[in-house]
């Protein structure tokens, strides 16, 4: 598998720390991470791309799918740790119209749940 994740919380934010590549192989892990995050009581879900080395168009499609799920549940989604390049891709695809892009995250207070290492 190309992607691993870990969850953390910071106040009202549940953070999905992503590590690796978001490509065709990442769909299952990404879904799993979202399901775990959505189960928390935190109102905002934050995707931490700080350790993501590669996102391709299939990865963009997966993120769009994840965004659709979050919107259906009215859960705000935001993105942190994007490099300038992927921030640019978020802008040209207009993902940034729907996912708030925030600056690199503050330290997570409480890392919990499983590390889905694959």
């Amino acid at each position: 598998m190309s992607l691993q994740f870990a969850l953390g919380t910071r106040g009202v934010v549940v953070v999905i720390h992503l590590l690796g590549r978001i490509d065709r192989e990442a769909g299952g892990v990404l879904d799993q991470s979202y399901t775990a995050a959505a189960a928390s009581s935190a109102s905002i879900i934050e995707l931490d791309f700080g350790q993501v080395e590669y996102i391709n168009s299939t990865g963009i499609a997966l993120i769009v799918g994840l965004l659709a799920k979050a919107r259906a549940k009215k859960r705000p989604l935001r993105a942190a740790g994007l490099t300038a390049h992927y921030r640019h891709i978020f802008e040209i695809t207009r993902l940034s119209d729907f996912i708030e892009i925030v600056e690199p995250i503050e330290p997570v207070e409480d890392v919990e749940l499983e590390q889905a290492a694959h």
């Binding site: 391709n56 168009s57 769009v64």
Partner: protein
């Protein structure tokens, strides 16, 4: 009522009751309207016939109409006579000198009912004797008059629709023929500009109509030099394209016999004169270049003088001569210059300099020279020129064919450097391609541009693997990377049939609304992350070419045109990435 005869004038404007042809799909609505009109007319006629028949029980067999075609010559005086006729007329009241009247009398016609609408005779109804053997009564005439007044507009409508359908079919046929002509003409233009030992060529060609009279050509000469030709046939469209094809062939033939640009023009002129239509001629510029030394011999037959950008200055290569096809015995002086390393040469047709803006101003030589002065590379010059011309002439029709050819001699030691490799079509190899390309161009691109190119390469390679070669690991995808000081070009080839062009442009609003699949971003990214993305074919290979300028200022996103023979990537795709 009676036996009836139907007369059909030969004039296309006065044809009666013709059967409608099967309509093209796009005209079904019109056909429905026509059928409705026809039904209304038939209903009216039926009502009239029923009333007449009701007075006497006539066996069904007796009521069948005998249709006789009476052809009426458009010059027959009967037509003019009937146009102003007050209503149904006895045959005896018609001009006896009319050949049509003579023929109608021979066939037993007793009554003629003109169908006139908007002052125009659109048909006529010819009737034989009544079955009751009585004469036509006043009531009969009144009914026939009513029939004519109702039926004439419907008949006219049907005629107009049939004429429209015929015109549409004719237009479609012409468009198809022009499309074929366009494909044939494209074969004349170099499908790809070749590698020229440290020289970079770029070209742009856009005819004002489907086909055009501009042309350019590159001919490798037996002595190792390269002949570069640009030409412009007067007029545009099909006549110009035909002369262009002839001139192209003559130039190629002459280049086989001589490497002298003046002699080539002289020969072509002599051969062209007997062939070319009156009032047409061809301007043409021929350069013969020694690629190693830059020594360039050139001769001109009335074409625009080329510009040269050298050390920030703009020069013109001076050479004059009579256009081809005008005067037998014309001689063409040969001139010589050296194109230095770093020089950029622009060859162009008057389609750019003579294009007008909406305000009526001409683009002119001044603006063209300015573009040359600002150019950083041949590609850049082509791109900027097209952009500037499009902006200048926004809202105005392109007046003439446009051709731009640039020659950029690389800086000393900066010759084009090419690296090629292949990888099997296995999932995941797109990242391998991406990493290898990144290593090859290391140090040439700023980080942001390198990241953008990497993503574009990865997406293109993934598309080639998954869709072009359908994941068949026995088929390789080919990768060629060309590096110059000005740009990086990556070509990725597969054995597919190219991009589909009817897929949706990815729209996140639609995707989130469930109206588009969440996928389909691949070629969108390619287009938006490179300075130019285009596709072309080479034999059985489909190739996507990505171009990235090495400096930010030359990169303003995708450009509107490309090397002739290559097609810009619109949004595609069969790529489901």
């Amino acid at each position: 009522m009676t036996d009836t005869l139907r007369a059909e004038p030969e004039s296309p404007d006065a044809v009666v009751n013709s059967e409608p042809a099967e309509p093209p799909v796009g005209q079904r609505a019109m056909s429905r309207a026509r059928r409705r009109a026809d039904r209304r007319a038939a209903k009216t006629a039926s009502k009239t016939a029923t009333k007449g028949a009701a007075r006497r029980a006539v066996p069904a067999a007796d009521t069948r109409a005998a249709v006789i075609d009476v052809q009426i010559d458009p010059s027959d005086p009967l037509l003019l006579f009937l146009q102003s006729a007050p209503g149904p007329l006895e045959i005896a009241a018609l001009p006896a000198y009319s050949p049509a009247v003579v023929r109608m009398k021979e066939q037993g016609v007793q009554m003629v009912v003109p169908f006139v609408t908007s002052g125009e005779l659109v048909g006529l109804l010819a009737l034989g004797p009544r079955l009751s053997e009585r004469t036509y009564s006043r009531t009969d005439r009144g009914l026939l008059d009513s029939l004519a007044r109702y039926a004439a507009p419907a008949l006219r409508l049907g005629q107009l629709m049939r004429a429209q359908e015929k015109e549409a079919r004719e237009r479609e046929r012409i468009e198809q023929e022009l499309h074929v002509a366009q494909l044939i003409q494209q074969q004349f233009l170099p499908s790809e500009l070749p590698e020229l030992r440290g020289w970079h060529l770029a070209a742009f060609y856009r005819p004002a109509r489907t086909v055009g009279g501009d042309f350019y050509d590159l001919i490798a000469l037996a002595n190792g030099e390269v002949m570069v030709v640009v030409g412009d046939v007067t007029d545009k469209g099909v006549p110009a394209a035909l002369v262009m094809a002839s001139t192209y062939a003559l130039l190629r033939s002459a280049a086989d016999l001589s490497s002298s640009p003046g002699e080539v023009l002289r020969r072509v002129n002599e051969l062209l004169i007997p062939q070319i239509p009156m009032n047409m001629f061809v301007t043409c510029l021929v350069l013969v270049i020694d690629l190693d030394t830059g020594r360039t011999r050139f001769a001109n037959a009335g074409h625009n003088l080329p510009y040269v950008r050298r050390d920030g200055e703009v020069l013109q290569l001076q050479a004059r001569g009579m256009p081809l096809g005008l005067m037998p015995g014309s001689a063409y002086d040969e001139h010589e210059t050296v194109i230095e390393p770093g020089d950029i040469v622009l060859l162009y047709s008057d389609g750019i300099t003579e294009q007008h803006s909406a305000a009526g101003e001409m683009f002119g030589f001044g603006r063209t020279a300015e573009l040359v002065g600002e150019a950083t590379s041949g590609d850049d010059l082509v791109d900027r020129s097209v952009l500037a011309l499009n902006t200048f002439s926004a809202g105005v029709e392109q007046e003439d064919d446009i051709t731009l050819v640039t020659l950029h001699r690389g800086q000393s030691g900066g010759h084009r450097d090419t690296v090629s490799f292949t990888v099997p079509s296995e999932p995941g190899n797109e990242r391998d391609v991406m990493d290898r390309v990144a290593a090859i161009v290391d140090g040439l691109l700023p980080k942001a541009r390198l990241d953008a190119l990497k993503t574009a390469v990865s997406e293109t390679a993934m598309n080639a693997i998954e869709h072009g070669n359908r994941g068949d690991a026995s088929l390789d995808i080919s990768v060629t990377v060309r590096r110059t000081a000005e740009s990086v070009t990556v070509e990725i080839g597969d054995y597919g049939r190219g991009m589909q062009r009817d897929a949706d442009i990815p729209d996140i609003d639609l995707k989130l609304a469930g109206l588009q699949t969440s996928r389909g971003w691949g070629l969108f990214l390619v287009e938006n992350l490179t300075d130019r993305a285009e596709e072309l074919t080479e034999g059985d290979r489909h190739i996507v070419r990505l171009v990235m300028h090495t400096s930010d200022h030359a990169a303003a996103g995708p450009t509107p045109q490309t090397t002739s023979g290559a097609t810009p990537l619109t949004d595609p795709t069969g790529s489901e990435s």
